[in-house]
């Protein structure tokens, strides 16, 4: 009986979720539809003027009004969708959750000393913030130093020429990274503690143990080798879970896009690069600068290629994670945006399903990208510590 109840409540939740998904999107689309209807009406009237030849002056004036209204009227739906997507992908100085819900984050600037203030001073980027007699303004999500009115001067290419102070702010992405670091620290140290009393996994360990074992047995050991893998396990596990968790957080409606930010993937790739070079053994460097087993004349050519390869490897790591996550977000949001562009109930059904499908696919990609990053990282580590016996 209890189980039946449990099943029923699960089904209720499921149907509520599906229902929610189905009804919110078309409802918003319908709301936007009003404006389009209005547009159509004006078009009909315009058509009417061409047919009826009476009272030219009056109709002309009306025509002008309509044209004017179109210029100044509400923005095109395509532009709104585009704007929403760019806004979602970009980093920001405040944590914006939904219309009117969110909280400001601290802004830290180095500009003749440390300047720390809350991003609420910008009022969502609309006003100039005054700190110790200096004025700052947000322009295209970058902070510029301005005068009291917030004047921004441009060069020929329409780039601002204002001075940019060194920006060390806790932005949305930085905030999420810090939050994730704290979360992961408590999660994994908690799990590690449970193994002190017995080797049977408890609590979150039941879920995490198979994944950790997988990273060790399927990623680290085959690529790095039994002899050296232990040294790198902490880094591989950290990178794997960090990327995976942040990818998953990116799938929530919070609108954080941490792993789809090239600065963050750059840092991850840089760490892999540094660890690889530091742990590079004699054989590793010999294979780069003086490849054994090939004619001597070819060796300098190979050295150049290998040297380029040294930097291409972390570069491809960086681009792969960044582009995959960014592309995933763009595709999902574009298809969701199509509902609003078509603005019809009929469009909402297939596109809602398509979005659902792509979101589930993206859940797979979230894990796959974490796996590939960890896998390639361990492959590079393996190449660095490998010992050959040449003759």
């Amino acid at each position: 009986m209890e189980m039946q109840n449990c099943m029923r409540s699960k089904f209720t939740v499921f149907f509520a979720l599906v229902g929610f998904l189905f009804f919110t999107a078309p409802a918003v689309a319908q709301d936007e539809n009003h404006e389009e209807l209005h547009h159509e009406e004006t078009h009909v009237e315009e058509g009417h003027t061409e047919e009826a030849h009476g009272d030219v002056h009056h109709e002309d004036a009306h025509h002008n009004d309509a044209a004017h209204g179109e210029e100044e009227g509400p923005k095109d739906m395509k532009d709104i969708v585009k704007e929403t997507i760019t806004h979602h992908l970009a980093d920001s100085y405040e944590f914006h959750i939904t219309e009117g819900v969110g909280f400001p984050l601290p802004i830290i600037l180095v500009d003749n000393g440390l300047k720390v203030f809350s991003s609420s001073k910008f009022h969502h980027g609309e006003t100039v913030a005054e700190v110790d007699g200096n004025y700052y303004k947000v322009y295209h999500s970058k902070i510029y130093k301005t005068d009291a009115e917030g004047t921004i001067t441009y060069d020929d290419h329409h780039h601002p020429t204002n001075e940019q102070p060194l920006d060390l702010s806790i932005t949305k992405n930085v905030f999420m990274i810090l939050l994730m670091a704290v979360f992961m620290f408590f999660l994994f140290s908690g799990v590690a503690k449970t193994y002190k009393s017995s080797l049977t996994p408890k609590k979150a360990g039941k879920f995490l143990e198979p994944i950790i074992i997988y990273v060790r047995d399927e990623i680290a050991i085959p690529n790095i080798g039994e002899k050296h893998y232990k040294k790198y396990m902490s880094y591989l596990l950290t990178v794997f879970f960090f990327i995976w968790f942040l990818n998953l957080v990116g799938m929530t409606p919070l609108g954080v896009n941490v792993t789809g930010n090239i600065a963050i993937t750059f840092s991850l790739a840089l760490m892999t690069f540094i660890i690889t070079q530091v742990s590079g053994k004699k054989d590793y460097w010999m294979h780069i600068f003086w490849m054994p087993g090939v004619p001597v004349l070819i060796r300098p050519v190979l050295a150049i290629i290998e040297l380029i390869g040294l930097f291409v490897k972390p570069f491809s790591l960086m681009i792969r994670l960044y582009a995959n996550m960014l592309a995933g977000h763009v595709v999902i949001m574009s298809i969701l945006g199509l509902i609003f562009i078509f603005g019809s109930w009929f469009a909402s059904v297939p596109f809602t399903f398509l979005t659902l499908f792509l979101s589930v696919l993206e859940l797979l990609v979230a894990a796959l990208q974490a796996y590939i990053f960890t896998m390639l990282t361990s492959l590079y580590f393996g190449a660095a510590v490998e010992e050959h016996d040449h003759h």
């Binding site: 399927e218 491809s316 681009i319 792969r320 582009a323 592309a327 796996y371 590939i372 896998m375 390639l376």
Partner: protein
């Protein structure tokens, strides 16, 4: 006549798609012949596909 950049992007996507498709197909063949080596083949397949994908993305974003 100047060829728009988007044509180049399309060509890159076609190339990357063909490449990854070939890898996937070959991996299928290999797994069908030797099902017991499926895990190893899959790993190699994913690495190769990821490398091609990386180049595809790099070219696409360099546009």
């Amino acid at each position: 006549m100047e060829i728009p950049e988007i044509v180049g992007a399309g060509l890159i996507v076609i190339g990357a798609g063909l490449g990854i498709g070939r890898i996937g197909g070959s991996a299928m063949d290999a797994i069908a012949r030797q099902p017991e080596a499926a895990a190893k083949i899959q790993t190699a397949m994913i690495i190769a596909a990821a490398l091609i994908e990386g180049i595809g993305f790099a070219a696409l974003f360099a546009k």
